[in-house]
Amino acid sequence: MKVKLVIFIILLNLQFAYAESITVKQNEIFKNLRCLICQGQSVADSNSEFAQTIKLVVKDQIKEGKSEKEIYNFLVDKYGEWIVYKPIFNKYNFLLWVLPYLIFFLGGYIIFFIIRKKQV
């Protein structure tokens, strides 16, 4: 009897843990999706008709076992890249990703040059 109870409690906990991980995953996805008809709101923040439908579809796709990347790709295919807050790296936005590093190294070089010049 005790063994059965322990197994039951373990299974129940596993179920809770799984349900929680699913909720965390879907909330992460909602936060990275832009509500196209709202002013500066994510799907997570909005209760609009569009946001509600997107939430429904994302939940469906998670249930179907689709990965986060697959869900984003599906929505980008339907609505364009504007729907995701975190842009996907491509030839059109590579500067957006590379420029901060470029400025960082260039700034570092300029500072190094100025300090070295002062020392001399």
Binding site: I37, T53, L56, V57, L75, K78, W82, I103, L106
Partner: protein, 173 residues
């Protein structure tokens, strides 16, 4: 020499930043999905309005041109565009598929009874799930496609007189 490089870099950086601001300010702040024209509708799944049977690409293959119109009885702008849909109904080269979006059946039927039924085929999307496959984000929205399911034009918002003429022009080609 090095001073010149620093000066040039600073100027280039300022020009670049100003360029980004200029381009950004000249861009429209309203996003829409009209850019989907030219893409192919790869997946169509809808429910028949009357009997709930599935409507897929196979059921819609015979049409030369098809206008997929997303509407609802609770949508006020849908009433504005309805006369244009009624007028388009007369054109034999065009079939109109109506997708009743998140609506009550009785209200939808009353709407069609009051304003006329321009649809050759009527489908429903009770929870809005199917419309996501068409890239719909509000209603009314309409998509004009050819026999290969390629999007010829997307109409965001109610169909206007100009849109009506545009549709006529496209299907006459």
């Amino acid at each position: 020499m090095q001073k010149k490089i620093i000066k040039l870099t600073t100027i280039l950086l300022i020009v670049f930043i100003l360029g980004v601001f200029f381009a950004g300010l000249n861009q429209s702040s309203f996003y829409d999905t009209k850019g989907q024209a030219g893409q192919k509708l790869t997946y169509i799944k809808l429910e028949d309005f009357n009997n709930g049977t599935l409507i897929t690409k196979i059921n819609l293959k015979k049409n030369n041109f098809m206008l997929i119109n997303f509407w609802a009885s609770w949508c006020a702008p849908c009433r504005d565009e309805h006369p244009f849909l009624i007028r388009l109904q007369d054109d034999k080269r065009l079939k109109i598929l109506g997708v009743n979006f998140k609506d009550k059946k009785n209200n939808a039927l009353k709407f069609l009874n009051d304003f006329g039924n321009p649809y050759d085929k009527l489908a429903k999307d009770e929870f809005g799930r199917y419309s996501i496959n068409f890239g719909i984000y509000g209603i009314p929205e309409s998509i004009l496609i050819d026999s290969n399911f390629v999007i010829l034009k997307k109409f965001i918002g109610p169909i206007t007189d100009a849109d009506y003429n545009d549709i006529k022009k496209i299907i006459r080609k």
